[in-house]
Symmetry: C2
Subunit: 388 residues, 2 copies
C-alpha cells in the first residue's frame, strides 16, 4: 500500500431475507417528512412498496413520493424532484430500487437546499456541496452499482448527450442500506447479468492500475473469483439464494472505496460506456461490456504483468511454459468466454450506437489518467470503432 | 452469504507516512481533557510521543497519561487507569501503541463511568455497557491485532489465570485510527512475526467454518495470499515500506468483522492460545502459533473440503491427482513451512508452559461451537499436550 489515504465508510448495512425489519428502528432517527423515491413500479408488483409504506405510516411519517426514476436518471428528473422535496420539506430521502434510484436520491440530497442548478454545479463544475444535505437511506432491489455504500451519483443530460458521475464526500453516503437478496431475484435475466458485469468491471477499473504490490489487488482478486463462481450458478439458477446473496454482497464491496485504497484506478471503461449510454440510453452494464474487450486488448501491452497476473489469479490459467504476453491474452479470452456465457451484449451497435454517433461519443468520453495508458482522442475513436 | 447480518464500521482510518497530520483536525471534535495511553516507552525513543504531545498541547488539550500498559493488559492495570481517568475527567482517550494499548483503552472507555467492577461485569458476566462511554482514538505502532478498527478488548487476570476477550458494540469502536507503517518498522523481529501470525490466524479463525459458498471466504483467501507474500519480503527486509504497509492494512481488514459476515467462525486457536498466555504471559501471536498445527490437524477431517480449498487457493498447491485428504495435509504442511520461515515459536513449552500447567490451561480454555468440530475437554488436553 503505497501513498497516503484515508478510509471512512460509516453506512450501516443490514443484509439478508429479514433485513427490512430494521427499517423501522432506523427511521426513528429522522424527522417526520419522508420522500419515498422509486423507479418503474416493479416495487408495487412485488410487494416491497406496500411493506415499506406500511412501515413508514406505522412510524408516524408523512410520505411524499418521487416515482418513475428512470434507469439513467436525468438532470430534468432531478429538477422535478427538487421541487417535490422542497414542497414536502423533506427530512429524509428513502431510495427503494437499484443503483439509479440510489444515485438519484444522493444527487437530490445535495440539491434540495442548494441555490445553484445541480447539473451545472456538480456535473459540469464538479463543485462540492456547501448547503445542507438531506440524509438518505436505501432499500436495494438490484445488485450491481454499489451505490448503497458509496457517495457517487451518475446523472444523464440527454440534451447535452452527457452522462457524468460525481463522487461526493462522506456526508452524502447513505446512512443505512437494506440489502435483501430476495428483492433482486425478480429481475429479468438481462438486468441481472448487466449488474453482474457492472460489479466485475468496477473491480477491474480499480485493479488494472499501478505496479506496486498492493493489498487492494489481492482483495479484488478474491472478490472477482467469488463473483465468477456465483454468476455461473445464478445464470443457470437465478433463484439460487446463496449465489444471488454472494453477488449482492460483492457488489457493495466492489465499489465502496476499499479496493481502490492505494490505487490510481483506471475508469476508462466507464467513461467510454457512459458516453455510449448518453447517446443510446442503453443499460449501464451492457455499455461497459460492449466496450471492455477492445479497451483492455488495446491497453494490455502497457500493463502486461497485471494482465498476466489476472489470468493466473482470477481465471486459474496455468502459467507453465507461457510468456506474460500469452498469459495476458488467455486471461482476456477467459473473461470474454465468461461474458458470452452470461449473454452480455458485446457490441455497441447492438445497443443502438451508429457510425455517425462515434465522433460525438468520443467527444463525450472523459479522459482519465490513472490506467496503464492514457488514451488520446484518436485512440478513443479507434476503440469505439472496434466496439461496434 | 447465508443468513442475516449487519455491518457497521464507522472508524475513520488515516493511512500512510503522513497520517499523523490528521490528528490535530480530529482532536478538535473532542473535549479538552485527553488521556494519553501508551506502553513500555518505545514511543519516547522513536519520537512519536514527542510529536503527539506537541500536537495535543498545540490543540489546547490538557493531557494526563497512563504509561506502562503491558503486552497482555491486566484487570489490575485497568483499575489503576480508571482512577486516573476519573481524576482527569477524561473527555477522550488516545491510545498510542499496539493492540494491547488499543484494547486496554477500549476496556477503559467502558469502565470510567461504570460503577461495577469491569472485570466482573465485562469479562465474567459478559454484560454490555450501560454507562457513558469515553471516545477513543488510536495511533497504531504495531500491526497485528486489528484493534484499531474493531470493538474488541482482551484483558488478562493473572490471579484467576484467565485471559478473556469481549467484543463490545459499535460505540466502543475507535472514532479514528492513524496507521503509519513507519511506526511499525522499529519493532524487533519477534514482535513483527508474532503480529504477522496473529493476522493470519485471525483470518483462519473466520475462514475455517461453514460449508456454504461465501464471499467472505474469497476475501479471506485474497488477504491471506497478500499477507504470505508481504511477510516473506518483510522477514528478509524489515525496512521494506511496501511490505510493511501491506501487512499493516491487512491486519486491519482481517479483524474488523468484514470477513466474518455470514460465517459461524471458529476462534479455538485463540481460546487455546489465550489460556496459554494467561499462564505464561507469552506474546499473543506466539501462543497462537504454538497451538495452531496440533489444533488444525486435529479438526481437519471434520472440515476436509475447506482445508483442501485452503491448500489450493491460499498456498497454490496443485490439486491434480490428489484426494482432498492429501491436499488438506499438504496445505497445512505449507503453512507449517511458512511459519518456520518466519521463525515462529512452534511449542508451548518454549513459551514457558510446563506439563503441570496443562490441566489448568485446559480449564481456562473457553469452548466455542462455530468451527468444524466442537472440542470436549479431553480433546483440549490432547491438543495442548501435542503443542508441548
Amino acid at each position: 500500500m503505497l501513498g497516503n489515504f484515508s478510509y471512512h465508510n460509516p453506512t450501516k448495512l443490514y443484509f439478508g431475507a429479514d433485513a427490512l425489519q430494521y427499517l423501522r428502528e432506523e427511521m426513528k432517527h429522522y424527522g417526520q417528512n419522508v420522500l419515498l423515491v422509486y423507479g418503474g413500479g416493479s416495487v408495487k408488483k412485488n410487494g416491497i412498496y406496500d411493506e415499506i409504506t406500511a412501515i413508514l405510516k406505522d412510524c408516524g411519517k408523512q410520505t411524499a413520493e418521487i416515482a418513475g426514476v428512470m434507469p439513467n436518471p436525468t438532470a430534468e428528473k432531478l429538477r422535478e424532484g427538487i421541487a417535490i422535496a422542497r414542497a414536502h420539506k423533506a427530512d429524509f430521502i428513502l431510495a427503494v430500487g437499484g443503483g439509479s434510484v440510489c444515485d438519484y436520491s444522493k444527487a437530490l440530497s445535495v440539491s434540495v437546499h442548494c441555490d445553484d442548478d445541480p447539473w451545472e454545479k456538480y456535473y459540469i463544475r464538479f463543485e462540492e456541496p456547501d448547503c445542507e444535505i438531506v440524509p438518505v437511506g436505501c432499500v436495494l432491489t438490484m445488485a450491481g452499482t454499489g451505490s448503497e455504500m458509496n457517495a457517487g451519483a451518475v446523472i444523464t443530460n440527454h440534451d447535452a448527450k452527457l452522462k457524468i458521475g460525481h463522487v461526493f464526500g462522506t456526508p452524502v453516503m447513505p446512512k443505512f442500506s437494506i440489502l435483501n437478496p430476495k428483492y433482486t431475484m425478480t429481475l429479468p435475466k438481462y438486468q441481472m447479468t448487466a449488474g453482474i458485469y457492472d460489479i466485475m468491471n468496477h473491480i477491474c477499473e480499480q485493479y488494472f492500475s499501478g505496479e506496486d504490490d498492493n493489498t487492494s489487488d489481492y482483495i479484488s482478486e478474491g472478490l472477482m473469483r467469488g463473483l465468477i463462481h456465483a454468476s455461473r450458478v445464478a445464470v443457470n439458477d437465478p433463484q439460487n439464494y446463496e449465489a444471488r446473496s454472494n453477488i449482492m454482497w460483492t457488489a457493495t464491496w466492489a465499489l465502496n472505496t476499499l479496493v481502490s485504497r492505494g490505487k490510481s484506478t483506471d475508469w476508462m471503461v466507464h467513461m467510454l460506456g457512459q458516453s455510449v449510454g448518453a447517446y443510446t440510453d442503453a443499460t449501464h452494464g451492457m455499455t461497459l461490456a460492449a466496450v471492455s474487450l477492445p479497451y483492455y486488448r488495446y491497453i494490455m501491452p502497457y500493463g502486461l504483468k497485471k494482465f498476466a497476473r489476472f489470468a493466473k489469479e482470477v481465471w486459474g490459467i496455468s502459467a507453465e511454459g507461457k510468456s506474460d504476453q500469452q498469459l495476458a491474452e488467455e486471461g482476456l479470452a477467459a473473461m470474454e468466454a465468461w461474458m458470452r456465457e452470461l449473454g452480455l451484449v458485446m457490441k455497441i451497435s447492438e445497443l443502438g450506437a451508429t457510425d455517425d454517433m462515434i465522433e460525438g461519443i468520443a467527444d463525450g468520453t472523459i479522459i482519465l489518467e490513472g490506467g496503464y495508458h492514457v488514451l488520446n482522442r484518436d485512440e478513443v475513436v479507434q476503440i469505439l470503432k472496434a466496439s461496434m
